[in-house]
Amino acid sequence: MELGLDVQKVDSHAVVDVKGEIDVYTAPKLREKLIELVSEGSYDVVVNLEGVDFLDSTGLGVLVGALKRVKAHDGSLSLVCTQDKILKIFKITGLTKVFPIHSSVDDATTASSE
């Protein structure tokens, strides 16, 4: 089981495109990438979950950890997600109140620049 991670710069944002399943086995790879971005000075991060087939509580924990890291630098972490099966995980756990969730990368970068 592989997790695909592709990072691109969009304006002042680091956009992380995630593909595959985020679970207890693959979440450490995502955590390392997000830590690396922050340590390199990327404090405005967008995580694109449109290519994610599965997300569990360990994946949520990684995203919460990354949010805390960017907030420590007055940064932002936004998500892109339109899939009902992934959105329901955020709704059940109450994290829709914690993460700004957008329907496209453009929306996410525009909103967090305002």
């Binding site: 089981m1 679970d23 207890v24 086995y25 569990d56 509580s57 805390k68 059940i92 756990t93």
Partner: protein
């Protein structure tokens, strides 16, 4: 009634194998796609909790997953080591974010019709049920 037993080594890489098996069994049992997805998430959460507990303790006993399918319900029992108790102070961190255990518990309670935990002799059996409508 159809019964299927699966045993995996307590390693995180095998949790995905259980998800695949449970999704296939759930489709075979006639659950709809929402129920299939909910059950595979819940089973994955329960397996993850056990695997993390056993990896932390260096416990190499297999994690067992028992599938049962009856006219009235589909049930899955996940058996392995008990996770360490979560102290009330560890439920939320200093910034008010819930721990992985709390997030996982919320998912288990919401995604299936019934979830129960039986802790005894250092082990835990988590039972997850989806009732047929």
């Amino acid at each position: 009634m159809t019964g299927v037993d699966i045993a995996i080594p307590p390693r995180s890489v095998y949790v995905g194998v259980v998800r695949l098996a449970v999704a296939a069994l759930a489709r075979q049992a006639g659950l709809d796609e929402d129920e299939v997805d909910n059950l595979r998430i819940a089973v994955s959460e329960a397996c993850t909790t056990v695997v993390l507990a056993q990896e932390g303790d260096g416990n190499d006993d297999p994690v067992t997953v028992r599938w049962d399918d009856t006219e009235d319900e589909v049930s899955v029992e996940i058996e392995g080591a008990s996770p360490p108790a979560v102290a009330p102070a560890d439920v939320d961190d200093s910034q008010g974010f819930s721990s992985r255990d709390v997030l996982s518990q919320a998912l288990l309670e919401s995604l299936v019709d019934e979830s129960s935990f039986d802790d005894r002799d250092g082990g835990r059996v988590t039972r997850l049920v989806i009732r047929r409508h």
